[in-house]
Structures are given as C-alpha cells and as structure tokens.
C-alpha cells in the first residue's frame, strides 16, 4: 500500500526501458542483415530509426530525473532508478553502433565483399544473444546472470581479433583492398563495442541488485610486440 | 423529512438546503442565545444591584473627612474611619507576610512532588482548610494568641487572616505552576539546573501573573472578613500602629455601625461598605490589569 504510486511509476519506467532494449536488439539484427544482403533500403530505414531511439532514451532520462526529484528514492529504489538511467544511455549507444552498420552498408555501395561474411554475423549473433540475456537479468534483478553475460564478451573480443588478423592479411597481400577491408573492420569494431556496452549494462545490473560497483570489462593488455 | 433528496450534508449547493431545516436551525439559535443571554443578565444583576445601591447610599456620606478623621462620639457630626482603614491595612499586611511565603513554598513542593506523602498532605490540607468557616479561624487565633497574651491585637487578626489566605494562595500558585509548559522545566533541567533553581528562576517568573492575581484575590477576600475580627482585632476608636494593640478594621466597623441604633453611624456604615467594595473591586481590576500588562510585555500568550 505505501508507495504504490511510486512503485507503479518505476514499473512503468522499467517497461519502457525493456521496450527500448527490445528495439535495440532488433537494430543489431537488422544491421547485420543489411550487411549480409547489401540491402540499402534496409540500411536507410535503420539509420532513420535512430532518431526514434534517441527520443525514447531522453524520455526515460526525464522520467528518471522526475522520479528522483519528486519521490526521494533511497537504497535499492535509488540504485534501481540510477541503473535504469544508465542502462537507457548504454542502449541508445548500442543502437548508434547498429546505425553505423547501416552507414557502412551505404558506404560499401556495390563493391564486392572482400571475403564471405562468417565471423561478423557470428559476432552479431552473440551480441544480440548477450543483450537479450542481460536485459532478462535486469528485469529479474539477477546479479549472477548479469555477471555471467559479461563473460561472453571475451568470445566477442577474440572474434574481433580474428577478423582483424584476417583483414590485415588481405591488406598486406593486396594493398588495393584496404578500403573494403576497413569497411569490414569498422563493422566488426562496432559489434565489438556493442559487446563492451552490454558488459556495462551487466555492471549496472549487479549494482542495482547488490549495491557493489564492479569493473567487468577487464581485458588482458595486448602482448608487447 | 425526505432523506433521499435535498439532504443538507450531501447535496452540493448550499442553496439546495431545505428551507425547513434552515428555519429550524435559525429558531433554535435564537432561542438558545436568548436563554443564555438572560441567564448571564440574571447572574450579573446582583453584582450591579449591590454596587449601585451601596454607591447610592454610601456616596452621600463620603467626604475627605471620612478618610482622614477619627470617629467622633455618637451624635457629633463629622469624623471618619481612618482608624479602620489603617487597621485593615495593618492586619492584611501581617497576613500577607505570613501567608504568602509559606503558600508559595508549599505550592512549589506540591507541584514538583505531587505524589509524595508530603505533597498529598499539602493538597489535602489546603482543601480542608479552605472549607473551614472564617469564624472558626477567628476562634482559633483567639485561643492561640489572644488568650495567652491576654489582649486583643492586630497581630492575632493577621494570623487569622493568614490562615484564610493560605489555601487560596497555595492553590492558585500550584495551579499556575502546573500550567507552565513542561518544556520550560525540561529546558532548565537540561542545562544542569537543580529542581529548586528551576522552580525559582524559571517556573515562578513564568507563573508570576497568575500567582499575583491569586494573591490579590486572596487579599480582597481577607480584607472583607468580619467574623474573625470579632475575636482578634476587636476594634478600637483610636489610630493604631502597634501590632500588639487591638485595632479597628473596615468590616468590623461596618458591622458595629450598621447594627447600632444611631442614624449617623448607620450612614457611616454605608460609606464604609462603599469603601470596602471599592477596595475589593479595585484589587480585582488591578489584578486583571497586571495580567494584561505583563502579557503585553512578554509579547505572547502568557
């Protein structure tokens, strides 16, 4: 009974956030699909969608600020709202990365692919699955699940390194392929960054649930060359 | 009355209130106002009547002489009751000196330690004391002081009046002390003041208004007591300043003059009665004025 109004507002906010998450998930799928099929129309619609996603994020932000100002949340309520706020921002940035994939498709135009796309779609698959997992952990306030998602980021990182090496090989053999290689590299890079952002979301899930801030993005430093 | 429509409480507009209800309320209002007004007038009538009557009767015979001259022998015109006035002052003064300190200290004790045996005893004792007829007080003082000393005296009168004043002052002081907000007492104690200091330096000044009022009312009461004077001060025709001498007092003088068969003495009795009433009224008004003045000074609701 007490704080019913507040709880309802928080739940509504959470629902909006999960909706944003779903939409973001979709952009990853569409981004890599456009890349695979070289569909310029899809790419353009992807780019156009981003404005709407930004609006959703700002809406969530404003509502979160209002809740903080008018309801004086404390303890887990406070951590929860702050988590919602920061996760919304991360999601919007993930969508930006997906949008970049669309831009790459437009840049690529009609040029032939340098190599068949295997790793990049694989990265997108993992990314999309990670996002789905972390959003689920968020909605259940499950810190362990959040932590588990972050472990999969390693897979994404090693795939990215693999793509990097492959593309470098191509470029070293034939420098004229550099533009096409870079396009693919950027695509892979965006997907790798998506993984990092999902890890950030995982950190927020842990914070909201336990009150502890943990750095989960730790990478082994590159071997000295 | 039709409850389903136009119920005055539930129907929204005021104007929708049923006329019958409204009219009935108005009538009840007027009737009650008239009744209470009449009762008030009835209660005040004796006061006004007495005051007017005494004023009318007594003012005829009031003059400067009355206040400054000693009484003349019967039949001789002129003369005054200065001896009675001074005598009243003397006797009441003695009563105050005895009663007030004792009453105030007793009140402190009863207010601070109400549930101790002594506190309960004080309460009970003052209750009983205030119910004893004043003539008994007179006899008491007579037995205690007049007999052993073998003379009537102003002092013994003062003692009798003191016993009459004591419960009055003690009770009002105690009530006033209890009405002082508890926060003041706590505030003082929290600063490290002892109970005693708190009572004297904080509670008493805060209650002072009420205490002084109580004292004045007690004085007014004591000044008007005639019965004890019969056994103690006993009256005198001369001006007395010695406590050990018998002395005239206003109430006693009124009694003697009024009961006498002499017309000029009876006239003087009226005048003396007027003086006494004026004194009592004056003290009451003074008490109120003091309360008002002090409240204004303190700026607030004491």
């Amino acid at each position: 009974m007490p704080r019913d109004t507040f709880e309802k507002q928080v739940n509504d906010l959470k629902k909006t956030l999960l909706e944003l998450g779903r939409v973001t998930q979709q952009t990853i799928v569409e981004g890599v699909e456009a890349l695979k099929t070289r569909d310029r129309v899809m790419a353009q619609s992807l780019i156009a969608q981003d404005a709407g996603i930004n609006r959703m994020r700002y809406d969530i932000e404003e509502r979160a600020y209002k809740l903080i100002a008018t309801q004086q949340p404390l303890a887990s309520d406070l951590r929860g709202i702050i988590a919602i706020l920061l996760v919304a921002i991360e999601l919007e940035r993930i969508a930006d990365h997906s949008k970049n994939l669309g831009e790459i498709v437009l840049r690529m135009g009609d040029e032939p692919l340098l190599k068949p796309l295997i790793d990049i779609p694989r990265m997108a698959e993992i990314g999309e699955s990670m996002l789905s997992q972390v959003l689920d952990a968020f909605s259940r306030n499950d810190a362990e699940a959040g932590r588990a998602v972050c472990l999969r980021d390693d897979e994404l990182d090693s795939l990215y390194k693999q793509v990097f090496r492959e593309l470098m090989t191509f470029v070293m053999e034939d420098p004229r392929t550099v533009t096409r290689a870079l396009n693919l590299l950027f695509a892979a890079h965006n997907l790798e960054r998506i993984g990092d952002r999902i890890t950030n979301i995982g950190e927020r899930v842990i914070y909201a649930a336990t009150g502890h801030l943990e750095e989960l993005n730790v990478e082994a430093p590159p071997a000295a060359k | 009355m039709n409850q389903t429509q136009n119920h005055p409480r539930t129907s929204a507009p005021l104007l929708g209130m049923s006329k019958a209800h409204f009219a009935r309320r108005k009538i009840t209002n007027i009737v009650m106002l008239s009744l209470t007004g009449a009762a008030t007038v009835l209660a005040v009538i004796p006061l006004i009547w007495i005051t007017l009557y005494v004023t009318m009767q007594g003012s005829r015979f009031l003059n400067i002489e009355f206040f400054t001259q000693l009484p003349t022998p019967v039949g001789v015109p002129g003369g005054g009751v200065v001896n009675a006035i001074v005598g009243t002052g003397l006797v009441v003064g003695v009563a105050c000196v005895i009663a007030i300190p004792v009453a105030i200290i007793g009140a402190f004790f009863a207010a601070d330690y109400p549930n101790t045996p002594l506190g309960l005893a004080i309460r009970f004792g003052t209750d009983v004391l205030s119910g004893i007829p004043s003539i008994v007080m007179g006899i008491f003082a007579y037995t205690l002081i007049v007999l052993p000393q073998r003379r009537f005296s102003a002092f013994s009168a003062g003692v009798a009046l003191a016993i009459i004043m004591l419960p009055l002052v003690l009770r009002t002081t105690e009530e006033m002390l209890k009405m002082v907000p508890r926060g003041l007492r706590e505030g003082s104690l929290a600063l490290g003041a002892s109970n005693w200091r708190t009572s004297v330096q904080v509670l008493l000044p805060a209650a002072l208004n009420g205490v002084v009022t109580g004292i004045m009312l007690a004085i007014a009461r004591a000044a008007g007591e005639a019965a004890p004077m019969l056994f103690t001060a006993f009256g005198s025709t001369g001006l007395v300043t010695d406590l050990n001498e018998s002395t005239a007092t206003l109430p006693h003088t009124i009694y003697i003059y009024a009961m006498s068969p002499f017309k000029d003495w009876q006239e003087k009795a009226w005048a003396a009665a007027l003086v006494l009433i004026a004194l009592v009224l004056g003290l009451n008004i003074l008490a109120r004025a003091l309360t008002w003045w002090r409240a204004r000074q303190m700026g607030l609701n004491y």
């Binding site: 007490p2 704080r3 507040f6 004086q72 949340p73 404390l74 303890a75 887990s76 309520d77 406070l78 951590r79 336990t210 009150g211 | 549930n115 907000p181 926060g183 003041l184 706590e186 505030g187 003082s188 104690l189 929290a190 600063l191 490290g192 003041a193 002892s194 200091r197 330096q201 904080v202 000044p205 805060a206 000074q297 303190m298 700026g299 607030l300 004491y302």
Partner: protein
C-alpha cells in the same frame, strides 16, 4: 568522575580512531514494569553527528533521553546496562545528575525559550556556574554567534526571547545550550516544528557545530538524517513493543545499501 569537577581525564577505552565519546552497552529502560528499550548497544564517536531514525513509538526519543538522564524525570523508571561518557557510567550511584546534564546538553522538539530576555536566556546556564560581568557578556555573544543568531538579535538582546520566530527561537535554544560548553549535544527532532528554510538553517548550524561538539539527533525525517549525519542508527519495535536497535552504520551505507531487510523496508517506505 562526575562528583569531582569536570575534567574528563579517564583513560580512553577504545583507541580506534575516531575516539568514542559515548558508549551504550546492553541498555534496557523500564517504565515501571514495561520495558521500553531492549538491549541497545552502540558507540557514538566524538565530534560527529549520529542520527537515530525509526518509526513512531519505536523508542528513539526515549533512548535519546537516557543519554542525559532526562528519562529519570518521569518517575518509576529503571535502567539496566550502562551509558558511559568518556568511559564513566552516567548511571552510577554516586553520579550527580546535574553535572551529567552540564556536559550533555539537549535541544527539544518544540523551542522552549524562557520567558526572559534573549540575553538572560543565553546567560541562564553560565550564571548557574557563577559566571558574571564582562565574561558573561562575552560568552553570550560568542554563543549567539556560534548559533548563527547574533546578527539578527544583537540590537535587541533585552527583548523577550518569545518574540522571535520559531526558527530563531530554536537557534536561541541552541545558543543557550552551547553557552555552558557541553561536550555532547542531544537533539530531539529539533526541526519538526519549523518551516523548511528554518530547518535548513538549523542543519547548517549542526554541520558547523560538529567540529566542536558530539551531536546525536533523533529525527523522523530520513532525508534530514541523510543530509547531516555520518552515522545512522535504525530502531524498531520488537513484538513486545520494546525498542531495539536494528542496524547501525555509516549513513551513506544505510541509505544506499542497508544490510538488513527491515532497514531497507523502512527507508524505502514499504512499512513504518
């Protein structure tokens, strides 16, 4: 200790920093047969602000009043356990209550200035100690300055203390309390009768005072406790209606990540 002059030279019990000013150990407080406070144990560090929060009737005011023995005033009260100041138990048999209250002052919920002048209000305490003359004037001025009231009243020291506004009256009470230079200041919901601006002024005052005094404040306003205190104690009623200490820890932790669910539920308003 209390029967001698104020000195405070007993050896410190706890050498962890910061120093512990008051230590409550297994405190039980009885009104007649009714146990109002059960088994409270807490350490109050010096020169800091400790807040006590909890729902109505949970005993927080009662607990506060045991710290300067104001609870004794009700009559038929009994204490088990101890409350120590600098290591000395204030409930010892040969302790003079008056001296306890000079070292541990109190500001009450409703401002209670005496019906005297502003000057006499502040001077009341020092006069009890025999201070007079120039020194008294200096103490009064300094206390009013420390209570952030001097500028507002310096031209009307001889006006009645009751003529001030509520917030000013409360600051007058603070000035009056610090005029005797206590070591600990207890505050029992000092702002609950004041408007928001007056409340903020008192809070700022508290924060300044904490450099010199140990402050313990009871408040039902959680945001206030969060704003001013460094340690917070949460009390609740147990099934026997006695007040118990549920959790006691750093304020930031209590309000962002409390250890006990009871505390969390109270702070987020889910009960209480």
């Amino acid at each position: 200790m209390f029967t001698r002059a104020l000195s405070g030279n007993t050896p410190q019990e706890n050498s962890a920093d910061p120093q512990i000013k008051m230590r409550v150990q297994n405190l039980d407080f009885y009104y007649g047969a009714f146990r109002a406070i059960a088994g409270v144990t807490m350490d109050i560090p010096e020169k800091s602000i400790t807040a006590i929060i909890g729902s109505s009737g949970c005993g927080k005011s009662t607990l506060l009043r045991t710290f300067n023995r104001m609870g004794d005033l009700v009559g038929h009260t009994r204490v088990r356990g101890s409350v120590t100041l600098d290591g000395d138990n204030i409930y010892d048999r040969n302790v003079d209550v008056v001296l306890v209250r000079r070292r541990i002052g109190m500001v009450f919920q409703r401002p209670n200035p005496f019906p005297k002048s502003i000057f006499d209000n502040v001077a009341y305490g020092p006069r009890l100690l025999g201070v007079g003359g120039k020194e008294l004037e200096q103490i009064v001025e300094q206390s009013l300055r420390d209570a952030a009231l001097w500028d507002e009243v310096k031209d009307k020291l001889h006006q009645s203390g009751l003529a001030l506004s509520g917030g000013q009256q409360q600051r007058l009470c603070v000035a009056r309390t610090i005029a005797v230079k206590p070591e600990v200041i207890l505050m029992d919901e000092p702002c609950s009768a004041l408007d928001p601006i007056a409340t903020y002024k008192i809070e700022e005052l508290m924060i300044q005072l904490r450099n010199e005094y140990t402050i313990v404040i009871v408040t039902h306003n959680m945001q206030q406790a969060a704003r001013v205190s460094s340690l917070t104690a949460f009390m609740n009623m147990n099934p026997d209606r006695a007040g118990v200490l549920v959790e006691f820890g750093p304020t930031t932790q209590i309000f962002t990540n409390p250890a006990k669910k009871e505390t969390e539920d109270y702070i987020t308003g889910r009960f209480g």
